[in-house]
Symmetry: D2
Subunit: 493 residues, 4 copies
């Protein structure tokens, strides 16, 4: 397994007519310390192919490689058949090779083409192959253990900032470089977001893939920095291609079609704002739907079915009635907080008569939590609510309401999940933003999803600009849940 | 110096009326391991203020702190005097405190305001204070040594990907988080680029600041990924604000004013393309000026003084006669390669009659190199050229030319700087891009800068699409300098 | 009915507290020659109100007038009740008064507001009142007969260009000035187009209104000059508000909804181009739908139901399969010709492989014409086609086709309407544009509209750039109908 | 001179090989009534060529005609020499023939090309030829006298609206059709505005051309309807091409260059607004320069030389200190009124603290008027002011000021030009807009132009929204000049 410099110099890039190879990850080996690894291939069958910080054994025929790389890096005149043959190789092979080439010392402009090929090949992968690809990412694009050890030893001996910088360079997985280079391709950012979406699914099947996600998360936090985002209002003059995406991404209160969408965009008393990123173009990363109302609404149906284009002049309240994160691949990259606060600022400037900024939010964890309680009072209520006969019986609703409110107030104010956080995810989000749990509304959402998740309960979270920072701080510091008098009273029942 | 959780809980953010403090970096201490450091202040004077991974001693009165933070994080009604007082503190204090607050657990939206304050305060710093600020960045925003040691030990015991991820988290200097958070402010990206420009100057005075630059470079490589850039053609219909920047940034062949600029933008036979980044708006990051000519030009003056708006139809050659990087703070973030190749693609599509893409480039290192040679032949030539009498003497020019070409060919083909790279920086750039040193032109630039740097010599580097990748590879691999027949012949003299 | 200058000086505009009036047209009177008529009112009831070139008798209480005019021309502080009362008057009164005020000597900026009120009031008219309004336009905004007579006499005595200019001034109906002033209001142009649409309907009820339309047509020809139009491609990234209009305006091959629309906008092998006018904003005045195909299509269904996003590369033909004028109020203002030719130019540049530009057009007059023929051969064919049993019987179709083609060729080539023009309106349009009737296709459109209008017949009209001008000329000069060999042969049967 | 249908059928358009002709206007002839005149040519030399409503005699060789028309209407393959020859004919010939062809029955799309040729040929005319061209416009594109007589007789017999419409059709000079067709060409509108500029110059030489201008004025009033204009703010981010035009067009207070311009566009306390028309693109038709100040300024120099970018917050006054009409060819098409009022509206909304909208205007007619007075008091003052020694002598200024103000107040309030209008053109404009002559400022403009025109005097005209309409009305009706107390008092001296 000796690997002389001279053989290393035989570049893969369109030069060497390679014999018979396979690319596969092998465990990192001690004792080797390649600081500037290159993408190369040895001429003799059975030898090694080196990509990134790990070694890759050569097992299988890869006669196509030279042509493929040729196809990746330039348009070769007069030899289009070879190119076509290369591009017809299985996508996993193509994706793996293209990534390896991308880490080599090819020219910058060639990298754009190779990255594009790598992402195209990735896009053609079946589920099983994706798992395989992610394992390659994990095993072949990690770190060089020897390099870490040396850098650590040096830093430990003289722990200054320069030593930290060297150690940092050794510890950063080569995946990050790979992802940055993949990001050179046109449209790459969105394709990498989709890749992470697949990865998150894959981690559910194979938790050992989780470390890869740290690199995605780390890069996405930089790439999707709030300073790079632009907020745009979406209305009926927006491109149909964008509106179509909104319909697809809306999952809080689904839209029935274009008419439904048009109502939510009505110029008069509706607003919709979204964040966009320059590298993902017309993809709305997150969006919030707003209704302008007189008073704080206590049910969702009147908002969703209101007549078009009512005059916003009498409105004194802006209701955030639906907030959606569009891309699962951006999990953990937080935008919602910024969006809500920027919308509050924009609406305040445009409509100074607005006095109150409030949500009308689902309580997605309520029904499950209630069903899981042992307390007889809870059990009784859960039973009564599950029967569903109350929906058509105003008298029954009136009699149940005090108990529903009492129990719901406990759920919001007291029920905790991991880390002393509120059990309800929507509550976590708004309370963490510095909002107050202002009012319980029951019944407020009789749609199937609303009944299933929360027996029809909804909550208004109130955003009071003067109090947001103090509430955020109290929530983070002490877990204090800011709330309105109705909840306080209901909890006391 | 004990530090209980309860005292740590006294938040700085607008709550605690702090007594008397000063903020200063002290060396990181062994044995402490604060995984989630917070921004806090102790009530008792003389105690400590904790910011980031290092400790900050409290020495001086900082009664303004609470008000300042208040001012940073929200608009407090009815207490504008206090705010004003806080904002009147010296900029170094404001910048330091704002950075500390930014690393605390304040709300996301508050972070936008605090980041803005930090950058404004930074913008007010004098040179001396900047050095101080950078030292704080180095010392107070580094790493937690204990955390590194623990993470290393864990990984060393079981070197898997998860361990690498934890180690990576410990080794990443807190500066990177700080910079990412500063980047939340409006217009922050450009302000951070300016900050790095200052830093690079500061490093010249104090090389011990160099490690900070690694963090800037690391983040900028992500932020200014080629995928986020857009190329725009600049012409006489572009905003005056952009054109004014071009005039300021053009340093290869300076512009005399708006008329000069207008000539370089003439619709007919001139083009100017620039890269822009969405977060730096109308700032041209790099730009290239192109002349469309018939044949490869051998002097710069005819290009700079050509009459306006000549018909591009007879042109067969696109000449890249000036390439400028605008922002010193983006040093090392490479765009030029991408720009040239994209311009070649755009021009090829627009004007299919173009057969040749070539530069007319300065040779900035030639005169200095020649002056430093011991060889009597070189010394003689340097003397003859320095006299300058040849400029007005065509006969003398003719007699000198063979020798100038012979020596210049040696300079381009043989002279090396560190790392076996060509000695000439412009040659390094174009050869590294896969271009060929096509032709020496002497005399080609009689402007003072051209005489001073290269005795009037200029070079055409040729970009041949079919050969770019192979030349790039040969240059990187073997240091092969692709060149035209004229240089080969001249070297042989 | 004497009318002294002093009473004429009592302006209506916000000054005179008028008594009791009504505004109604009375016949123009001989002997009066008011060259600069003003908008005025007399103080005494029963006197006259003068607006424009005709006289208006005062019969009815108009106490609201001063307030109304006040409301029209400025926002009067502290008297909003009076304004509200004025604006609550019946729309016909408001429209009539606002037009009268508009012709007075009010300031230019006030005119914008008055024009807006006039158009708003017009927008509130019921059908019957519209007729009344148009009669006022005809009778009160015509010419001053005495002025015409004097100008004519002067010109007749010395027929020079200056005399013509004066005569022109006298003969131009004051309606044109009124319409130009109405056009000052925001969005006025589109509202005037709608007004003409109503007018064309009204003329069907009352042909005596026809002269008004000459003034609309005259002005619209200036306003909608081709030089003011811009062509835009519409695709799935166009604003939903525009796309919705396309769906509403498409009348040749109706769209079933957004999915249907999306298919017609598919990036691959579909195009849609429209003309827009700056003053009517996002209103597509005319649009053409194009399919890119291989070969000339002989039926419409494969085009309307084709799968999405096919590759345009193999296409050699651009098929204009639907051309729609959107606004009935722009009748007679011709755009279609310009649009088709500009689309041909754009597509030729974008897709040089296109060799053939052709329509697939309905033959809307064929069935009616055929049913009206006496010739037994025609009668027999009409009967056979009307039974409709052929649609499901390929054998019957084959046996009927020669006869359908023979008769259809006669219809296209020989049947004439008024003025020796082809009887078929679509044929008139394309032949007048210089196209050739290239091929009959039967059956090509089995949709109800296609069967009803043309028994399923469609025609390809061919646009050959080299021949367009000669064909246009021959068609205009001699009525020559350019046609393909299939029609020649079919006619001979 | 008989003219049979068959000869009329020999079209000029690229078909007939004409012999020898000349095109020249001859007087309209009685007894001929060609309702649909066509563009044609007779085969035999010496015969007539018919273009428009008049006849054109054929005198000279025009063998080039067929080729020229060919060149105009289509790109004829393989015969580029003939085309080139035709296009090399003298511009007057080309312009005349192209106009004639344009009035013929050529296709719409061909008209675009012919109109373009006509305007290009016009653009090549020398001054003398322009006069000739305008005479052709006057004589050959007028009316058909017989047609007028018949239409008049018919209307006189039965004077209804339909008769008026027919008479209108007969009286409209064919020039208007010609101009509308010329307007089909790309960029035609601006070229026609330039043509009218030439025409206005030509009329000064030859007043008999004046009737043509009525047609231009009539069409431009339609084309440049205020509803088609858009107002844009111009700032330092506007295209350099637009800014360059502003510098060229500014004639009230000339700009010294780009720095001067930049100061006038400073974001802080300067604004510049212009009207644009969609058909003239980036041509600012009229623009107003605004300074935001504290208090009403009494001199121009402090405004023109103010430091950059002052904070607009303390400003309470918007000063319109320069209003420029850009295009002489749009004389009489009034925009200024609309522009000022729209700017007032925009600024009021953006900066609610503005309380006062006022001009600082030149008094261009003052010095000339003063010099022409006989009154010894006036003569004395004119003498004192003309000496100019007061400029450097504050004491002399103080002593002269009461008299200057007294006389200037008389000039503004009492001096009248034709039609009882104020003698001063700037006063006419602002008073007609409903402004008040608020304050005399002397000395306020010591620039050469200010001294020459008004001995350094400037005036503030005040725009008070509540009073504009009443002042406009009083000015139009009674010639009342609204004015401030200073003028009243000064006049009484």
């Amino acid at each position: 397994m000796a690997f002389s410099r001279s053989t290393r110099m035989r570049w893969v890039v369109g030069r060497v007519m390679v014999g018979s190879f396979v690319i596969a990850p092998i465990p990192a080996q001690r004792g080797r310390n390649v600081h500037h690894p290159v993408c190369c291939i040895q001429q003799d069958p059975g030898r090694v192919y080196h990509a990134g910080g790990g070694w890759i054994m050569v097992k299988q025929r890869l006669t196509f490689l030279a042509d493929f790389v040729e196809a990746l890096t330039r348009r070769k005149r007069g030899d289009e058949d070879a190119t076509r043959t290369a591009l017809a190789r299985p996508p996993l092979e193509r994706a793996t090779v293209a990534c390896a080439v991308l880490m080599g010392r090819i020219g910058d402009a060639a990298r754009v083409a190779v990255a594009d090929q790598a992402l195209s090949a990735y896009g053609d992968l079946e589920d099983g192959d994706r798992l395989e690809f992610f394992r390659t990412l994990r095993d072949a694009y990690g770190v060089d253990a020897d390099r870490i050890r040396q850098a650590y030893a040096a830093w430990d001996a003289a722990p200054d900032a320069a030593g930290v910088a060297r150690l940092f360079g050794a510890v950063e997985p080569r995946r990050q470089t790979l992802l940055r280079r993949l990001n050179l391709a046109p449209g790459a950012t969105l394709r990498l977001v989709r890749m992470r979406e697949h990865l998150l699914e894959a981690i559910r099947q194979d938790p050992a893939l989780a470390p890869i996600d740290e690199d995605f998360a780390h890069l996405f936090a930089s790439w999707f920095n709030r300073g790079f985002l632009t907020m745009r209002r979406i209305d009926w003059n927006s491109p149909a291609a964008v509106l179509e995406k909104l319909m697809a991404y809306e999952s809080v209160h689904r839209m029935a079609g274009w008419d439904d969408l048009k109502r939510r965009l009505a110029d008069g008393d509706r607003r919709l704002y979204a964040f966009f990123h320059p590298a993902t173009g017309d993809e709305p990363l997150i969006f919030v739907e707003v209704a302008l109302t007189r008073g704080i609404p206590d049910a969702i149906a009147p908002i969703l079915t209101a007549p078009h284009d009512r005059d916003p002049a009498p409105a004194d309240t802006a209701v955030f009635y639906s907030i959606n994160n569009s891309l699962a691949g951006l999990k953990g990259v937080s935008f919602g907080n910024f969006l809500i606060k920027q919308v509050v600022a924009v609406l305040s400037a445009e409509l100074p008569q607005l006095r109150c900024f409030v949500t009308l939010s689902p309580v997605p964890g309520f029904a499950r939590w209630l069903g899981a309680q042992d307390d007889p009072r809870m059990t009784a209520l859960a039973g009564a609510l599950s029967r569903g006969d109350w929906q058509a019986d105003p008298g029954l609703v009136e009699s149940l309401r005090p108990e529903v409110e009492a129990v719901a107030a406990r759920y919001i104010l007291n029920a905790k999940a991991r880390g002393d956080q509120p059990a309800d995810p929507v509550a976590r989000f708004h309370l963490g933003n510095g909002a107050s749990a202002h009012r319980l509304n029951w019944p407020a959402d009789l749609a199937p999803s609303g009944l299933r998740g929360a027996h029809g309960l909804m909550i208004n979270y109130l955003y009071e600009l003067d109090a947001i920072e103090a509430r955020h701080e109290a929530f983070i510091r002490d877990g204090t849940v800011a709330h309105g008098p109705q909840l306080a009273e209901a909890r006391a029942r």
